[in-house]
């Protein structure tokens, strides 16, 4: 028997009242990361519009696993099915060769960036990412990044994207533009339109971590948008004090419960056998891409600290690199380097027989691990929101969450989650012990978390996004 789908009704999914008023809009969405990665260039000329159904998943393409695409795709699908939008076009970076492809009612257009510019673009993007996460190492160099010789290639990529969008707008006449993520920040300023422009900043946003010399340019870019969406109240306040004069809205990221299944015992056993997890083992699960920011090193240290006391405890680390560190993406080697550092750390601590690196797992296997684990841990040093916590809650599993994640403001410590300081290894170890010592606490927190997860379901997101779009278009 295949795993059962999560019961959507339990999430109160219903048509948004706003979708009845705003109908048939044409929307343009822009992200850096594409929903689909192609494994090889097209056989036909680039100009041919291909339907994704003509290609094979796994052979010709794969879906991105990133949080942004994971939110945007279900949102567009739901808005299409409800009639709020009649046309959805999605522009993203993809140098594999296709120009346009249609998938599930959405037309994807791709920007191709040649290798010579990719490296410089990646450097500026990394600097921005580090600034957002407060991990800038060379602050002097970071201050000067917008006057560096790498910046013209970052501007080139964004202008290339904006010009593609401008061209599409000429043909399609969109009603609204919805730009996502920090890499695409200049797009709003570069678009030649007076139509509404909405922007979602997905990473953390704290004024204190942004270099002083970036403020003018970033504010020029921010102020080109009519509405900016952020993932927490803290980021909202920070954006206002930073100098953004437009509308700003807090909107929790969301997942579509339909994308998750509750696997049966057979599926769980098969996966555990493959990974070497025994029936009597306790499993602590960390799901995050391989990135120093995700704090897997802290999870390993805390695990090592208590490994002697809890002999049956296993640490499972799921995830590989992001689009940026993939060969199909920007080719930055961050993910692979970080994983080898973690493996070395595990070896040094003498716990290699109890720590499992799974790499990327397909969703059904990830669901199986969520079902099998005792609890999950999100030890990130900085985290825009933390949708993996919601995934954990969907499986009724308790989650120990870094207090530096956007989702931390949704958690009542001890009730629906446990909060930790990721810099305090003993704190992490203590919270792990709480869940291992009393299984009933873990169960109660997991159940309470499931209730909180409804705030981050697609139905809640659809309602809020539609409301925001409606208000913007109607103005």
């Amino acid at each position: 028997m295949d795993g059962e789908k999560f019961n959507i009704k339990s999430f109160g999914l219903q048509s948004s009242k706003y979708s009845k008023e705003v109908q048939g809009l044409k929307i343009l969405v822009n992200t850096q990361t594409p929903l689909i990665w192609f494994t090889h260039p097209p056989k036909e000329p680039k100009t041919v519009v291909t339907d994704l159904s003509q290609l094979r998943e796994g052979e010709d393409y794969n879906y991105s696993t990133g949080g942004v695409t994971r939110m945007v795709q279900p949102l567009l699908k739901r808005m299409l099915s409800e009639g709020t939008i009649s046309e959805a076009h999605w522009v993203s970076l993809n140098s594999a060769g296709y120009n346009t492809i249609k998938a599930e009612g959405i037309t994807h257009h791709f920007v191709s960036l040649d290798k010579s510019r990719m490296e410089s673009y990646g450097k500026v993007k990394e600097a921005m990412w580090n600034a957002a996460h407060g991990t800038t190492k060379d602050t002097t160099a970071a201050q000067k990044i917008f006057l560096s010789d790498d910046f013209p290639d970052y501007a080139y990529y964004n202008r290339l994207t904006a010009e593609l969008i401008n061209g599409l707008d000429k043909d399609i006449d969109f009603d609204i533009f919805y730009i996502h993520d920090f890499q695409q920040l200049p797009i709003g300023h570069m678009l030649n339109t007076l139509k509404p422009k909405m922007y979602r900043w997905h990473t953390p946003f704290e004024e204190s971590t942004i270099p002083e010399k970036w403020k003018m340019l970033m504010n020029t870019y921010f102020n080109a948008y009519d509405l900016i969406v952020v993932s927490s109240g803290k980021y909202l306040e920070s954006l206002k004090s930073f100098g953004y004069n437009g509308k700003v809205k807090k909107l929790y990221p969301y997942v579509d419960p339909e994308d998750y299944t509750r696997p049966n015992n057979g599926e769980v056993s098969t996966l555990c056998d493959r990974l070497g997890i025994k029936d009597e083992d306790d499993v602590m699960l960390v799901v995050a891409r391989m990135d120093p920011m995700k704090g897997q090193d802290r999870a390993i240290d805390a695990f090592a600290y208590i490994a002697g006391k809890y002999k049956k405890l296993r640490l499972v680390l799921v995830g590989n690199g992001s689009f940026s560190s993939s060969k199909q993406g920007l080719g930055l080697s961050k993910g692979a380097v970080w994983r080898s550092e973690l493996e070395e750390q595990v070896n040094k601590l003498g716990i290699s027989d109890r720590v499992i690196f799974t790499g990327h797992l397909p969703q059904n296997e990830l669901d199986a691990l969520y079902e099998r684990c005792n609890f999950t841990l999100l030890p990130s040093i900085k985290e825009g929101f933390g949708l993996v916590v919601v995934e954990s809650w969907l499986h009724h599993k308790a989650c120990i969450v870094t207090n530096r994640a956007g989702i931390a403001e949704l958690i009542t410590a001890g009730k629906d989650g446990l909060l930790i300081n990721p810099d305090d290894m003993q704190d992490i170890a203590a919270k792990i012990s709480i869940l291992l010592e009393d299984r009933s606490i873990s169960r109660k927190i997991g159940q309470a978390g499931f209730e909180v997860s409804k705030l981050c379901s697609i139905s809640a997101g659809l309602h809020e996004e539609t409301k925001a779009i409606k208000e913007l278009v109607a103005e």
Binding site: R117, Q143, D149, F151, Y156, R159, L160, K213, M216
Partner: protein, 254 residues
């Protein structure tokens, strides 16, 4: 009538027109080089004016060669010109002022200024006048006023700001052009306030051309003119390279 008597004047007229075309192009190039030190917009206007004059002279000479008395044509052009100038003297003055102020723009749209006793925010600069929003009132100030009157720009750090208009034809690879302009500006980075990096803004686009403004913030006001000249020269060079590259691509495409 000898056929040669007909063909020779036509041939001479043709040669004159070809020579006119060569001279017009040659003078355009010279003006562009000379005006490289001024603004692109002003240069384009002067180039157009001289081009019209050269062609007018060329046409008159060609017509004369064909045996037609050019006096009537000259008289008509002259009278028409006088009539036009008399009729639109005011607007012409403003139009001219609009382009001369481009050479040293003391303000831009969005700045707060005081002129002729009116203080407000500049919301539009068109060919004839500059529109100011003052205390919820729209004030239209003729552009010629900016040549005669004292203008105070009260915008914070306005002395630092330089706005350089850039017009390019739509066949140019715009993203590559932007990348190259920014790269070119990086060579002058020591002159810029590093809190305000150069930023290129698309102002408008029609079927033929795209208008941008390059906004810069300088460190030293006393070097303002030198920086404007250097920036204009660099932009001209980048545009020349972009045009050549576009032509090459066009040839390869053919």
């Amino acid at each position: 009538m000898n056929i040669l008597q007909v063909l020779v004047p036509i041939a001479y007229a043709g040669i004159i027109l070809i020579a006119t075309w060569i001279v017009a192009r040659f003078i355009s190039v010279i003006i562009r080089r000379l005006m490289g030190r001024s603004t692109q917009m002003l240069g384009a206007q002067i180039q157009r004016l001289v081009w019209v004059l050269v062609w007018l002279i060329g046409l008159i000479l060609a017509i004369e060669e064909l045996g037609v008395n050019p006096a009537i044509l000259l008289l008509m052009v002259g009278l028409l010109g006088v009539a036009v100038i008399v009729a639109i003297r005011g607007p012409l003055e403003n139009f001219g002022a609009r382009y001369f102020t481009f050479g040293y723009i003391p303000f831009k749209v969005g700045d707060s200024i005081t002129v002729l006793g009116h203080s407000g925010k500049v919301i539009e600069i068109n060919s004839i006048s500059t529109i100011i929003l003052a205390d919820d009132h729209i004030v239209s100030v003729p552009n010629s006023a900016f040549m005669k009157e004292t203008v105070v720009n009260t915008t914070h750090q306005a002395w630092k700001a330089i706005s350089v208009p850039i017009v390019v034809n739509n066949e140019i690879d715009i993203p590559a052009l932007e990348g190259e302009i920014l790269r070119s500006m990086n060579k002058l980075r020591s002159n810029f306030d590093d809190r305000f990096p150069p930023i290129l803004t698309l102002v408008s686009r029609d079927k033929q051309s795209t208008r941008f403004v390059l906004n810069l913030m300088i460190r030293n006001p006393e070097r303002r003119d030198a920086i404007i000249n250097e920036v204009n020269n660099r932009i001209d060079d980048v545009i020349d390279v972009a045009k050549k590259s576009q032509k090459q691509k066009g040839r390869q495409h053919k």
